[in-house]
Symmetry: C2
Subunit: 304 residues, 2 copies
């Protein structure tokens, strides 16, 4: 098995053990292994390398995201930046990027390495867009979809595509697995954005309503604003946040939570879920395909 390791540097090793030990669904490496499994024995060295690459890349982005968002809790545990200073947290994330690149290189497949590099680029562009569009309450709903593709679906799609490439899929089946990962990722992120409003803090392992508090506009909010009789009034309340009037934001979060916006957003997640299942039809039937179809349902039903 692969180990993230940390050279001879003990504090780093401890921090990573804590991060990895804190749980997480390990969905992305599972996707890479499943895609590979359609074509070859999933326990191969290369399949494990690509699974490690995708999970390590994901964790690297989480470390930096938590730093950027000043998040103190993830998966019910203290984040790295809550414990370490800014510099150490930046470097710990960079270290994980290096390890992810190393794992990707271990596949000895140049297309896979290029795919990982492209995906990290897309993720960074998406995060930058999100950062620079924060608190722009009037932004267009159409911009939401490329943003969540960049943030989440691109890595899901990279996981399934790289599994397919390494397994030796035909171009058509590689595309089908890419599409599956893409649509599953879109559904996953919409559900994530819904849970940020409707979830329970104890189950989520992080505070509810964090997106809106940070000025990040997601699908439930778009629907809420769209159907609101006086959207300018909502925006005026949000603009008071940060001026000692965080109660105004809490009121908006509660309003979104109990509005029809949650159901409207969920219907979109279901639509992406259907598209993910449709993509699977290109693939050989069997237990693996069934498991991937069930993963769509799991994604839509998850509460955490």
């Amino acid at each position: 098995m692969r180990s993230i390791g940390a050279g001879a540097y003990a504090p780093l090793a401890e921090a990573f053990l804590a991060l990895l030990g804190s749980g997480g669904k390990r969905l992305r490496p599972a996707l890479a292994l499943a895609a590979y499994g359609f074509y070859a024995e999933p326990a191969s060295e290369k399949a494990v390398a690509v699974a490690a690459a995708v999970e390590t890349l994901h964790n690297a982005t989480l470390v930096h995201d938590d730093l950027i968002d000043n998040a103190l809790v993830r998966r019910g545990m203290s984040t790295l930046n809550a414990v370490w200073n800014k510099g150490a947290t930046v470097l710990a994330g960079d270290y994980l990027f290096a390890r992810a690149a190393g794992f990707a290189a271990e596949t000895e497949n140049v297309r896979v390495v290029q795919l990982f590099a492209d995906t990290l680029r897309i993720i960074c562009e998406g995060e930058l867009r999100q950062l620079f569009s924060a608190r722009q309450w009037r932004q267009a709903k159409e911009d939401y979809y490329p943003r969540i593709f960049a943030k989440t679906a691109s890595l899901f799609a990279a996981a399934t595509r790289s599994g397919a490439i390494l397994g030796g899929a035909t171009p058509e089946q590689e595309q089908a697995l890419y599409d599956y990962g893409h649509y599953l990722g879109m559904a996953f992120q919409i559900v994530d954005d819904i849970l940020d409003y409707s979830g329970q803090e104890a189950t989520l392992g992080k505070p509810v309503g964090g997106d809106l508090r940070q000025g990040i506009v997601t699908l439930p909010f778009f629907y809420y604003l769209q159907s609101h009789a006086a959207p300018e009034g909502v925006i005026a309340r949000l603009q008071q946040a940060g001026n000692g009037r965080d109660d105004q934001v809490a009121d908006v979060i509660a309003a979104v939570r109990t509005s029809g916006a949650i159901q409207q957003a969920f219907a979109e997640a279901q639509g992406f879920g259907e598209q993910a299942k449709a993509a699977l039809e290109q693939l050989p039937d069997g237990l693996l395909r069934q498991a991937l179809a069930e993963l769509v349902d799991f994604t839509l039903q998850r509460r955490v």
Copy 2:
């Protein structure tokens, strides 16, 4: 030619143009091209890709270093973190890592990709070590060498080695070019550490004495402390820094600057320079080898 680009994201593109336009010696890509040039036409696509990879990786680490150090000026210009917020700066660095990985993948050489991944890992480990050993005034001089290898020489050596790999060098010549890059990098960093004491702010494009102010112990300080009659007194003065007594640090910087420590450190840089030149003897004689030998002298004579 390669372009770093920034997708459709204009603010990022502008920031990178400013960063790249601000100068820098472009030493690392030149090393990669020179190493490649021993074996093949240096203007090839792959040589340009690896040169772009090494310079982009270097700039990515600079963006994060400046954030970590809260540095406001580099190459006489405002750093990214002086203009952008923490989050955008972290992501801009990550974006550059992604582009560096993409350029490395364009070489279509798995060993080169692995070398870049390993080098980034070594750099991060080194930076973490530096961070966690800051203000440990009594640290061992022996720890300085692995630290500057990680921080600087590892990327110099990766530049020359990857050029050699892509050019098709024999294992012996690849090793010789690696050694050359390694020793040149060690000499370069020692000179850098000397200039941090003895340089002119106007020429350096950044404040003098920054290392000691940040608690980073470098070779001149080791020699200064070693030859000082009352090292405990020096350490006591440094410990007052940050408590409104920065004048105490300024005094120590001035003392190091005018002590014999500068010459002692420089003699070590010269020693590494000699080793770099010795490594060149394994390589075919000619203009290129001569240029690399002159680069050693340039590195030792530089004032910026």
